[in-house]
């Protein structure tokens, strides 16, 4: 359940930014989470409910931009969507791929008042 650590990281970032902006309420938070970031969304939801209690994020609306992972074949340079590290290039069948998108794990923005 590293998702709990991740949620605590999000809370820290959000509360720090809100404090600097003198905001009292965090209405919304926008997150970028890649499909290969290592986050299990079900665990994340559970951790979110637990960890935000008693923080400025307890009533915050969470918007998650799920970013579909993409890889580039090292052999033939084809770019394609992947679900697993072991997915092969659809053109040449090689497993020599580099992940170019989908590892994101980021707080993008806050809506505060």
């Amino acid at each position: 359940m590293h998702e709990l650590s991740i949620v605590m990281g999000i809370i820290k970032i959000a509360e720090d930014y809100a404090r600097v902006a003198n905001a009292l309420v965090i209405d919304e938070i926008e997150l970028d989470i890649g499909t290969m970031s290592g986050i299990d969304m079900q665990s994340m939801e559970f951790a979110w409910t637990q960890a935000t209690k008693g923080t400025k994020l307890s009533a915050t609306i969470k918007k998650v931009n799920s970013i579909m992972a993409k890889a580039k074949c090292i052999d033939c340079e084809t770019e394609f969507e992947i679900k697993n590290y072991y997915d092969a290039c659809p053109v040449c069948g090689q497993h020599l791929i580099a992940i170019i998108q989908g590892k994101e794990l980021k707080v993008k923005s806050l809506l505060v008042s």
């Binding site: 359940m1 590293h2 709990l4 650590s5 991740i6 605590m8 990281g9 999000i10 809370i11 820290k12 970032i13 959000a14 509360e15 720090d16 930014y17 809100a18 404090r19 902006a21 003198n22 905001a23 009292l24 209405d27 290592g38 637990q50 960890a51 697993n84 590290y85 072991y86 092969a88 497993h95 020599l96 794990l105 980021k106 707080v107 993008k108 923005s109 806050l110 809506l111 505060v112 008042s113």
Partner: protein, 273 residues
Amino acid sequence: MCATCGCGSDGKTTYQLIDKNENLEQTHGHHHPHEHSHKHEHGDKHDHPHTEKKIIVVEQDILHQNNLLAQRNRGFFDAKNILALNLVSSPGSGKTSLLESTLNDLKGELEFVVIEGDQQTNNDADRIAATGIKVTQINTGKGCHLDAHMVLHAIQSLKPKDNSVLFIENVGNLVCPAMFDLGEKERIVIISVTEGDDKPLKYPDMFYTSTLCIINKIDLLPYVPFDIEKVKANAKKVNHKLEIIELSCTTGQGLDIWYKWLKSKVLLPDLVY
């Protein structure tokens, strides 16, 4: 609740240095920067000044804090020419056994220090201490992985010497430790032949982020349905750069290859510019 340290909501991580007969226990308390630094002087009756909604652009990596601390550890290791290795595996794959063999066999040739990460007990640190090597036990409580912050505090008490090899045995868990850079030079994933040969496919993050995979307990190969070629192929599918070494801590078979790998990573002080 601590935002920098561990998974456990109680966040109570303890550190214990075991150095021969000198014991020193320190519980790390956390200073939370969450308090409001300014007081709201106005009472409840008049309107609050911050009512307008506004967007704050943040664009910050959630692992940023951990990564910064990891880089700080890495800088410390580089400056002292310390080879830091992060050992990860499922519970019971043989991390501590591999360390015991390695320390006993090579302690005359290389300088070692060890950090042991477990949720509870000093059992693993006691096993390391029995080899005569200095070790700090981190107990993470509910936390299922080490993070850079914990390692930072552990090395404060360990005080590793220049040119030493630092083994960090992570909490037995093939999922959570994958995301947390500790500042190590290499990450070593260990699997044993009593686990399924589809482990690399089931837990790909750990194999993707490691540089070496050790397949342990090969003495048990005659008794278990474990296809070693298949596991190697699966591991390579996830990470084509992964090096693989097969060995047995019990019989010692293959340990020489591991020692050769280890020594190849140690930079001799007179070769460091």
